[in-house]
């Protein structure tokens, strides 16, 4: 049986007089992947930042639920949510492994993934001596995902995770995300590359001008998803 992990209730977010989100209500279940689509300025990033607790809604409320079904404010659920944004959220001067060791230390007491393993899982060499500032854009994206993964978050919020990535790396990331979903973790991702992420999606949400205009089941059946996961694994291996 699936249970709720997060809920947005009539959430509106204003920047001055501009409404970035308008009365958005969504309930997210554990172990599902939600694909958020919409044109630029539709409110996708604002929705993710609100779910992450980085933005406070002007109206409505956001709740993050634990296994027992008790809902708390996202800021009280810090450590259980992983957020990857357009920026790397890493120090340019540190190497990938130095960055991850620092962040792993901030999740003290939690069952963290070893920084080296997190980097390997996204296809980066932990022994790479270059600072993150000298990485290519694709490598930065992968290092950023590795940062999100170290705390084993229950809810992964990924804002444009495939931007600047070559197709092989994108497939590798999809394969990794598929394994998270099977571990009953919830993924919410925004992208403009619909065809790439759609096979992973259980649900597809479309935002337009800050309003939720559709909430539909993903177009792929479970069997198709398994086939896709196998194909992505093959593509990643190649």
């Amino acid at each position: 049986m699936t249970s709720k992990i997060a809920e947005l209730e009539e959430v509106s977010k204003l920047y001055g007089t501009f409404a970035a989100l308008r009365k958005v209500s969504v309930s997210l279940e554990r172990g599902r992947c939600y694909l958020v689509l919409g044109p630029n300025g539709a409110g996708k990033s604002t929705m993710l930042r609100t779910l992450a607790g980085l933005l406070k809604p002007a109206y409505g409320r956001v709740l993050i639920f634990d296994e027992a079904g008790e809902g708390v404010d996202p800021m009280e659920a810090r450590g259980r949510i992983g957020y990857m944004s357009h920026a790397t959220m890493l120090y340019d001067e540190f190497t990938g492994v130095e960055n991850l060791r620092y962040f792993a230390g901030l999740y003290r007491g939690r069952d963290c993934v070893a920084p080296e393993d997190a980097l390997r899982s996204v296809g980066l060499d932990p022994a790479l001596p270059r600072p993150v500032g000298q990485y290519s854009q694709g490598m930065k994206q992968r290092a950023s995902l590795a940062r999100v993964l170290i705390s084993r978050p229950e809810l992964l919020l990924l804002d444009e995770p495939f931007s600047n990535m070559d197709i092989q790396s994108a497939h590798q990331m999809l394969r990794l995300l598929e394994t998270f979903r099977t571990e009953q973790r919830t993924i919410v991702l925004t992208t403009h590359q619909r065809e790439l992420a759609e096979p992973l999606a259980d649900w597809v949400l479309t935002l337009d001008a800050g309003a939720l205009v559709s909430f539909e089941e993903g177009p792929y059946t479970k069997a198709q998803k398994l086939t896709f996961a196998g194909a992505a694994a093959g593509a990643g291996a190649r």
Partner: protein
């Protein structure tokens, strides 16, 4: 607050500065310029030096530190690292304290380099208890840094943050500046007892460090 978190932040800031040396280099260059230029401009006698040296040293350090404090959170802002920090369970007070102690260490290094230059250029010899300077200067420096780190964080989301920081910081630092200058002058001239000023500086430090640690969580999570 768990010391492990604060040590982690401190180690990270020291490590970053060790790699770049941005803050120390800019502060050192600025403070040296002020000290040397004032010495050449006024050519003070030994007696006059004792009276003005405390003020010049404090003001030189203050402006040098402000230039570095303006950049105190720059690395956290650059790639939205601050958002990643906000999402960790580590308390904000540990981030604040780590950053403050790291910046205090940078300013102290500059002061240690500057001290012999200052003694030579101003031909100084303390008439009072010279060792008390080793208490007064760190107390005054901490007063500047703890407020500077706090107000730099407060102003990071504003457009004119480089201008805003000195505007907020300097009026609040005035009591500590007064205490530091008066204590330094008392020690150098040996005319009065600096104990009252030292106690005032210590009380100021305790009050503002406590306030900073209590309020930093609010500043960190403000939009």
């Amino acid at each position: 607050m768990k010391p492990a978190y604060f040590l982690l932040h401190l180690k990270k800031d020291l490590h970053l500065e060790w790699r770049s040396k941005d803050a120390i280099n800019s502060m050192l260059f600025f403070a040296l310029l002020v000290v040397v230029l004032f010495s050449l401009a006024f050519d003070p006698t030994q007696d006059a030096s004792r009276k003005i040296a405390g003020g010049i040293l404090c003001v030189a350090m203050m402006f040098a530190a402000v230039s570095a404090l303006n950049q105190a959170w720059a690395r956290e802002l650059r790639n939205q690292v601050l958002d990643a920090l906000r999402m960790t369970p580590a308390p904000g007070a540990s981030l604040f304290l780590g950053k403050a102690i790291a910046n205090f260490a940078f300013v102290t290094i500059v002061e240690i380099v500057l001290a012999p230059v200052f003694v030579v250029f101003y031909n100084l010899r303390a008439v009072g208890n010279g060792w008390l300077l080793a208490l007064v200067i760190p107390l005054g420096t901490w007063a500047l840094i703890v407020n500077g780190v706090f107000f730099a964080a407060l102003s990071i989301r504003t457009r004119n943050r480089e201008m805003l920081l000195p505007l907020i910081l300097l009026p609040i630092f005035v009591p500590a500046l007064l205490g530091m200058v008066m204590a330094c002058s008392s020690i150098l001239t040996g005319e009065t007892d600096p104990a009252l000023w030292i106690k005032m500086l210590a009380a100021y430090d305790v009050a503002f460090t406590t306030l900073g640690m209590m309020l930093f969580e609010v500043i960190l999570h403000a939009e």
